[in-house]
């Protein structure tokens, strides 16, 4: 039985950049726990002789030729940016 503890929920939330209230953490711990339990059930099947599925359909080898296509104009590229400066996307300072 997979019961998710608060620490795991906080870790997952951090990875997904989600800010959760204490109530939400509890709610999601139980809901996500249920989902994982369901997955646990699937694990009962012996799949040791089955190739892992890499892709949902039988499609393979889809390529394009190395020929140029249109790019966006600068104004268009920056149009939906939450913030910009001159010809650049502007983001919070990245500390290296």
């Amino acid at each position: 039985m997979a019961i998710l503890d608060k620490k795991t929920i906080e870790h997952v939330a951090l990875l997904a950049r989600l800010e959760l209230s204490e109530e939400e953490k509890e709610l999601f711990a139980s809901q996500l726990g249920n989902i994982l339990n369901y997955i646990e059930k699937l694990k009962e099947l012996d799949t040791s002789r089955v190739e892992p599925m890499a892709y949902a359909t039988a499609t393979k080898n889809v390529f394009r030729e190395d020929t140029p296509g249109p790019s966006l104009k600068l104004e268009e590229a920056l149009k939906n940016a939450p913030d910009k400066l001159q010809d650049f996307f502007k983001v919070l300072k990245v500390i290296e």
Binding site: H11, L14, L15, R17, P52, A54, Y55, A56, T57, T59, K60, N61, V62, F63, R64, E65, D66, T67, P68, G69, P70, S71, L72, K73, L74, A77, L78, N80, D83, L85, Q86, D87, F88, F89, K90, V91, L92, K93, V94, I95, E96
Partner: protein, 479 residues
Amino acid sequence: MQYETVIGLETHAELLTETKLFCGCLNRFGAPPNTLVCPVCLGLPGVLPVMNKKGFEMALKATLALHCRVNQFTTFDRKNYYYPDLPKNYQISQNYLNLGVDGYLEIKYDGQEKRIRVHNVHLEEEAGKLIHTEEPGADYSLVDFNRAGVPLLEIVTYPDMRSLEEAEAYMNTLRNVLLYTEVSDCKMQEGSLRFEASISLRPTGQEKLGNRVEIKNLNSMKAVLKALEYETGRQRESLEGGGVVAMETRLWDELRERTERMRTKEEAHDYRYFPEPDLAPVVIKDQWLEELSATLPELPLARRNRFVTELGLSDYDAGVLAEDKAVADYFERCVSHYESPKVVCNWVTNDVLRELKERRLEIKDFPVGPEMLVELIKLVETGAVSMPVARGVFVEMVDTKKKAPQLVQERGLLQISDSAELEGIIQAILTENPNALTDYKKGKKTAFTFLVGQIMRKTKGKANPQMVNELLKQKLEAS
């Protein structure tokens, strides 16, 4: 206690395609910011990536050149992390079924050949470029996505290198292989070739590996070597003082010439890889592999060895020539027109490489083609011009793009091999320098060299040196 250094290297090389890996935007360095972008490489909603066949084949070619076992069923995965240079918040990469595994690169250092094993080779997309502003107190960074989506090859070694010299040989050889196979331009200053190193120390003779430190922010091969040297010292000091080396990632500080612990959050390495649902797997049939193998050129080390065994060059000279494919091709074209590889080798390694360097030219733009050089070499061989004159003619050929015979004619540089004419010149020099004759008679050997120098100067280097030697000797003995 003696310690052994254990080094592994991770290399990123941008591939030389015309367009990006998953969209038709140009793969170009130096364009105005954010002008080579489209909905696909900006990660806008609803777009789908489609694999660039040329890029995939280039990656495969490098994989073959590194003697990897190719996964003939290869797939792509999402590597999930948040960073402002990554528009989709995931990077399309490979994790489960890498393009190539278990290969090797043969290096040669100090006359010894050694195989550095390659753990895996995989294909992924490049991230954008972050620009950190110089403005004091600025609370922002800027992003240029021109580079985002450029095909990137990652090559990961096993920790098989045991010294800085081996690491250096590996980097140089790998660079040459990527240049030879024409999959990357390997310009470190433009970021198209980058290295990350991992290093640990262990007591000599101990099998178990020590704690490993990864080093990032290495912008040149020189930086890699400096950082490795610094880390070797730091780790040895720590171990000798009874301490433990922390397993961590450190950043090379170019200015202070030291590594510093990278501040990271613990979740940083939780990439939660999963299969990329937008890209179909690639099945690589034997025939495709065979076709690509057939396009592989002779690799640098093989060529170097062939220059030694078949052409009789020294290993050093062979290494200098084979290092650059275009130079080696130039040399071989000369040799196909002239039977003495050693003579050609001297010209190429001394004169041609010097002029290329001084004029910052690439050999493909060099005005003196192989046929033109051979023509000049033949003028020396037949005695038409002396070697010192030929060297000067060569420089003029680079300046003027004129052929050697024409320049020799125009400048009246034909070698003087007429004994009567030479005797006249020698007599004149002896008359002008009576002291030298006296010195010679007293047994001073330098007087002879002095006189030869005077004769060469008078004839502007055109006098046939062997004849001058003989005639001068006769003259001095007779007087």
